[in-house]
């Protein structure tokens, strides 16, 4: 891959490290009062400067061969992310990270810790960019917004959580929250003027973007050859990822509908008066957790997965893996009915298809029972047990809506786990009526 380390790219990388260094020097300046802290950030800044220098030197004197991310690291990542385990590690890891962040939010959102994490991310990103496979995917014009999305989502989440943590502390001490401000402001100039400035900046950025990154024109469409992988627009990649686990009608119709319905329903379900106009976590722990889980883990994380890690034939590829269209990953998924009738009962006649309604019902009995239990039995059970308090507060209708939405949301991780553990294809499999769950 050495031959792709063009001087231009190496200079670009140097600029990247210099920006990172500048960022750290800025932070150091900010902490000018605290010598120790300042020195730490200056040190980190110089680490980036060192990187920049290396690439400036290799780029000018030894074009085509700058230092690259070490082969063992690449190989290790690839083997960790190896085909079948990839999605599991990625998704489970994301869930764990999500839980960690929420649980240790106080420590993690501490600026020093966050900055350290960010620096680590920037450094790793810089290193990773020296891998051609990684770079070729990251720098694809289509994918650049997703990189921006990652950074901006992280940043805004951090802002929210950080403020919530601070506010929770203030509330605990019965002090006014940060956002407490009764003053009214003028439409002009406070609102309109700032809006105007934002418009100007946004326009300029869009112009720069469109000039700098050309429209990603690919080959002309032909009926003889579909692009591989065939990807949805980036904002639908989460949905497309669901297609791995669900039948199109579920992933493409029911679940998106539920998302929209759910978003509309939130104001009606959410009766918690607290947290209006200020950031807080403690006062809205359930609402924030469930929303962030749905948005970050089940949406953004899946978009990133779909963008960067799903390659030809919708196979999972590690970040440093070449997207080889010849890679084959076994897909020996079975339906629940097969699992039950064939492997447990040992009666192949029951699993035959196309034999009339009664037969279908018998065949899919396990699945139907499972789904029935999940959809019908679970809400009352929850109402009696873990959601007893909510049920009491919300009343039947609101509770029912909430629990249904949560059930649909949870169906995705549940299905994922079933797929990974017992290779389950469909819980209910009725090809006769194109109805699979």
């Amino acid at each position: 891959m050495h031959d792709t380390m063009t001087p231009g790219f190496q200079f670009g990388l140097a600029v990247w490290y210099l920006i990172c260094a500048g960022l750290n020097f800025g932070v150091a300046q900010f902490h000018a009062h605290d010598r120790k802290l300042r020195n730490v950030w200056v040190g980190v800044g110089f680490l980036f400067v060192l990187h920049a220098m290396i690439y400036l030197v290799t780029g000018s004197f030894a074009p085509q061969s700058g230092p690259v991310i070490p082969e063992p690291l690449v190989n290790f990542t690839n083997s960790v992310m190896d085909h079948f385990w990839g999605p599991i590690i990625y998704f489970v890891g994301s869930c764990l990270a999500f839980a960690t962040v929420l649980y240790w939010r106080k420590q993690i959102t501490e600026p020093t810790v966050s900055l350290a994490l960010m620096n680590a991310a920037l450094l790793i990103f810089g290193w990773a960019m020296t891998n051609e496979d990684f770079r070729s995917i990251i720098t694809k014009e289509d994918n650049v917004p997703i990189v921006m999305l990652i950074f901006s989502v992280v940043f805004f989440t951090w802002v929210g959580l950080r403020r919530a943590v601070v506010n929770d502390g203030l509330i605990a001490q019965n002090k006014p929250v940060m956002e407490k401000d009764d003053e009214k402001v003028l439409v002009w100039p406070d609102l309109v003027y700032t809006e105007l400035i934002c418009m100007v900046v946004a326009t300029a950025l869009l112009v720069i973007w469109s000039v700098a990154l050309k429209a990603p024109l690919e080959q002309p469409a032909t009926s003889a050859k579909a692009p591989n992988p065939s990807k949805a627009p980036w904002y639908f990649l989460g949905l497309q990822e669901m297609l791995v686990y669900f039948d199109p009608w579920m992933a493409g119709v029911v679940l998106p509908t539920m998302i929209i319905v759910g978003l509309i329903a939130i104001p009606y379900i959410d009766f918690n008066q607290k947290g209006n106009g200020y950031f807080t976590f403690k006062e809205r722990a359930f609402a924030i957790t469930s929303f962030l889980f749905g948005f970050l883990v089940l949406w953004v994380v899946l978009i990133v997965l779909g963008t960067f890690l799903r390659g030809p034939n919708w196979n999972f590829f590690g970040p440093f893996e070449y997207w080889d269209p010849h890679k084959v990953v076994p897909l020996n998924n079975v339906n629940l009915s097969d699992l039950f009738w064939l492997q447990m009962v040992g009666d192949p006649t029951k699993t035959e298809t196309g034999k009339g309604l009664l037969h279908i019902v018998i065949r899919e009995l396990p699945g139907l029972v499972f789904v029935g239990l999940y959809m019908l039995a679970l809400p009352p059970i929850c109402a009696k047990t873990i959601f007893r308090r909510y049920y009491m507060k919300m009343g039947f209708a609101r509770y029912f809506m909430l629990i249904t939405l949560i059930q649909f949301m949870a169906s995705l991780p549940i299905k994922m786990v079933l797929r990974w553990t017992i290779n389950l294809k469909y819980i209910v499999y009725i090809p006769e009526y194109f109805l699979n769950i």
């Binding site: 070729s136 100039p189 100007v200 900046v201 000039v211 080959q219 469409a221």
Partner: protein, 1499 residues
Amino acid sequence: MAATDTTYRNTKMLHVVFAVTSIFMLVTLIGMFAEDFYRGWKVEQRIFRDVEEEMGKRQVLASSPTDKSVDELAAIEKNLQSKKDDLAAAKTAFEKGLGDLPSRKLKKELEFAGVKAEYDSVMSFINKASESREDGLNSEKVRKLRKQLDEKAAKMAELKEEVEKNQTDYDSQAREKGIPAMEAEVKKLDKQYKETLADFDRFVKLATQKRWSWMDSFRDLPIIEGFSPPTKIQQYTLNDLPIDYSFKFVTRYDRCATCHLGLEKPNFDKAALASLTDDPGLNKELSIRYAGAEGLLKKRRAEGERGLPKPEAIRPKMIDKSRLTDARVSEFAAHPRLDLFVDANSPHGAEKFGCTICHSGQGSATAFFDASHTPDNAVIQEHWKKEYGWKANHYWDMPMLPSRFVESTCVKCHHDVTDVIRDGNRIEAPKLVKGYNLVRELGCFGCHEIAGLKFGQRIGPDLRLEDDPPLDSLSNVERAKRLSDPLNPPGAQRKVGPALSRLAEKTNEDWVKAWLKSPRGFRPETRMPHFYLQANNNPEALYGTGQEKFPDAEINSVAYYLLSKSKQHLNELEQNHKDPKQLQADQVVVATIIQKIKDAEKQLTDPKLKDAEKATVQGQLKQLQTDQAVAQAKVKRRQEFLALAPPVSQFKLPAAGDANRGRMFFQEKGCMACHSHAATEKNGEPVDGKKVPAMLGDASFGPDLSRIALKIAPLGEAGSDRKWLISWLLNPSAHSPRTLMPSVQLTTEDANDIVAWLLSHKPEWKDKVVVEPAEKQTLQDLAKIYLEKVFTKSETRTVLENGITEDRLKSLALGADELELAAPLDENKLKLYVGKKAIGNMGCYACHSIPGFQNPKPIGTALNEWGKKDPDRLAFEDSEKYVKHHFNVVPLRDDPKDKNKPAKDWHSVASPDGKVLKPYEEYFADMLNHHHRSREGFLHLKLREPRSYDYNRIKSWDDRLRMPQFRFARPKKLAGESDEAFAARALQEEAEANEAVMTFILGLVAEPVPQKFVNSPTGDRLAEVKGRQVLDKFNCAGCHIVRPGSIDFKPVEMKRFEGHPNVRKEELPYTGDDYVYSEHIAWAGRDPTSYEKLTVRGVTPPVEVKFDDDEEPSKDVKVWLMQDFRYRKDLQKNGWLRDIPAGSTLFLSPDWVAVGETSDASKFTAPQLGGKFTDLLSQYLQKKDRENFGGQAKMSNAYAAAPPLLIGQGEKVQPDWLYKFLLNPHPIRPLTVLRMPKFNMSPDEAQALVNYFAAVDKTQNPGIGLTYPYVLMPQRNEGFLRQKTDEYVARLKALNQFDARKKDLQGFWEKQLIVDKADADRKLAEAEDRLNMAVAAAKPDATKQRDDAKKVADEWKERLAKKDVSAYVKQWEEREAYVADAGRMVGHGNICLTCHHAAGLDGKENKGPNLDNVADRLRHDWMQRWVTNPSRFQHYSSVMPINFKASGAPENQDAFVGSSMDQIQAARDFLLLYPQIRDWPILRARPILGLTTPPMGAK
């Protein structure tokens, strides 16, 4: 809360922020405009603007007068001016002397004009009036007006007369004073002056136009250029050649000319463009020119001429090298072949074809990367990567073709491929044609379908295997049936390998095994590819797979299969030939059955027949019909066997031949036109006292025969190898029915001698490969692989132990391979089975006809559309690593300075572990990398190491790749070449040949190009294209020179030719010995169309073998003209004209000759087709027999002894004759040492050749009005002879020769009287005899006959008595005089009879062909031209002299009275009429003139 003035944010701060963001926005917008303003193509166009302006200036300067010629020009002008002044003065003086005539004249003219105007006005009134009134011309008003009109008309007529009179007076007086002459001179001078400046003025105008005005510069300002920019995208819109997007055809827009702006400008060659970066001040020529132009412009501007630029405007300037880089020089350069492409007048005008239809790439793109530019080698690729950030474009399926493959797209429209050969032997796409020929020769089509038809529409070249049995051997009905389906016409390609059904009588198992394992180990340049020791089945690859012993076991099995099947075949053959009468017996059986069937059928028609009986009879009938089929099949098979040559074992072996003589024959009889043999490189033992010199042949059409003695080694009695080889030489096609080896027409003795020599060379087979015998276990393992596909595992086990039981056999399909394994099983049966499976698996039958494999399917991927195959669908596997580990990856193949040499590091190296790593171009290695995977990369390795894609793959034996490894080039080591140099060159040639094949295959895109673009030649051109394929198929050019080559050159000075001995100057009378046929290209060439490039067409001149060779070889490029070379003083056709006719040698300075891609040492731009063997043989003969062939004078004899030239064959011979001759040649020219072989050619192919020759001459030489396939022969017209005789008698009379001639003949006639009287007497006697014997009834008739005879006899008696010869005279005068004298001339001992047999008489020595037979062979017009000057038609100084000279007084008037031309025609007419008149007594009227000793056959 109350409103306050305080704001939430600091307003001042907001202002600052707003200001900053606004500036940011502004900068962004400026950046956006800059981005647009500096778009790549706009920058290019701006630079081009300067380049174009500068080029315009250079063009002006090139045509501008130098300061010296400015003086000349000034002199012309001065002269002109003075002449003008003189004229004016003379005119004034003259008019003064006329008195009042001028004023009178003028007055009358004015008066006339006035009246005419009135007349016209009245006429218009009349018209108007008549139009507006019902009564039209009859109305009152009109009548009035008509009266006026008549008056005016009368007046006009009167005045006209006066005006004319005045004019005549004036003119006649002016003539007296010489005014018109002066006027004419002034006009002429004026024209001359203007013409001298025409180019200059034209280019000045052009150059001024090219300059940008201030308005253009304004329009090109940033932002303003958004409205109406002077820089524009240039595009060709091609609605007829759309891009196929699978679901839609989309118009093709080619915008290449947006940057490649000089594409259509012929003067934009690279050298001229590059010179723009030189300092013009240093260019002396340019300075002189500029000084001249400056002077001229200044002067003319001073004189007030308008529209001329200031001299400064054409002052040449230097363009900086940073702007006009080398890359831009290429970018702006004109297309290198404007005569073929881009130019509107060329066959592929850009407006019609665009760019991407040939070059591929993304035409709509206007940026370097988007257009999918493709580098041509790794060095350029590296450069592009650095300069333009180039990378492989995956988003365009048909990236631009690198220049090395650019010819492949020609196939899209040139389906026949050979139709890119134009103008003789000019191959416009040499790489493509080479690839096409390789594919044909190597038989790729045997395994890979290359079908030219898709749904009945032609989509590409058609190379398909012919049917088995081939079309030629079908009956007419079957043939017609086979040809009747237009959607599925039969293929035409023969299998390229020999038939193997008679292998056992040719060689033995040991040889076959070694050959199978490593064919090139036996014969390095064989076409047979390697199946074993390949990337996926060599010991290294098989190590540890458990398949290590499979290759050798398979080889054993295949050899066993082939030999045992061939033995079976031979046994059957022997049975049939031993007892040929068995056929008749079988035929009788068939006839009997047929008779029985007829009887039975007759019985059935009997109405009395009862139903039960009927059923019985019907049953019998059915049985009989089955019997008939069986019996007939038996007969057919017998017939087939009898048609084949009897087995060699029955051949009667002659006593051992003379090897020395055999070697001589090998060299002389034409073997070396196709074959080579290492032993001919040294001198041989003398034969009959004459030495046999060495012959360095390099023919590779047939196999190299150096090791043949090792191969022809059948087991059995001693001498069986000789038997086989002799019988093969005598009739090859009887052994291998589709072989291309012709029957060389050898006598058995000659063949015996040749065989003795061939078998006497038994060189050591040094590197013979070892093939281990097959072990039973291995055979079983192999058989198991195949058996498990048919049987279950347990069944397989039983079969391998005991064979297949009879019951189980019955359930197998007919012809199943498993039938070989019938119980009881032994090892040989296993071998047969495994061998058959292996043959089927490897596709041996694609090239060889093998018993047991009739019409099997091709096993390879179809190549019809391979050229557009998606690289994603190719299995690259681990090829990248394979190349890395097995080759020495080298950046360049060719030396960048000399393309004919390999690059410095292009050679094999040893790898760390001692293996030889052959070189591999980095360019192709890179295309295996997964970032740059492409068809080219895949194909290149596939051809080089076809099985390397199995590298690092775990595969079962039968699942491995099967394509064998070919070697495409057959290099020969040159004299004086070092081993390393030869090795490197061999590798380079191999790589080149590999690319040639790739070029062809990449061209197979099956793109539905609209029919009108497809080159579908018709008529003569089609005949040429098809004929060429047959020529190549049978290697006609191995012996004959078929087409001349050509040399393009740019003459620097024509003086060189002025002194040529044969030059014909138009303005001088011609003094040569021959007549000039101005319609024939041998005497009159084509007019040159430019002086940039002249073309001569000819062949390499004959080479005289020098024995004291110390002469410095001339560096000049020599050519023997086969067509007249014509040049003129200038292209306006004002100046003189020169012709150097065919048959002359021309010497060209090597500096003039633009050597193209040709590597031919002769420096021909397009090499001649054929002639190598002619040279080889004639040089051999010169060395062998100096007495008869040596030296300048007798060298021609050596060439005359070689195969004849075929240039002009079409105009020479009659098509009928040639057709018959090709199919069944007979000896013609006694001088030759060899004979035309009888080729294994179908009538269609012979026809194609006949048409080829005729068509070629018809199109090359339109002046001669050649016709084919029919030829008119005016000599055979009824009136021809009478007319000619009348003319001749008239001439005799006019020249007072008539009576003398009569007197001459008197004696003959008197003798003839005696003869005729005797004849009449004899007839009378016969009639009397008949009368005596006649029966009564016949008496009256017989009496009458006797009386008639008596009357005749009496008449003759009387004539004899009176010596009355008037009847003879009358007959002579009316019918015989012309041919009689023509016959005297032909029979003149010193003319034709010197060398030919003619007019029934043998010549002094019969060197030339027998002239009595030419009437069927030759065309009459050619004969005339030939006799006029034979050297115009030969490629050496013809042995035949000019017998009838155009210059000087005509000779031989005692034989035939008339001019030389009359004599030529008379001789020609005589020869053509000879078959009809040979019995005329008058032809024997005189002893032969000019012959001192009587000719040999004189009667």
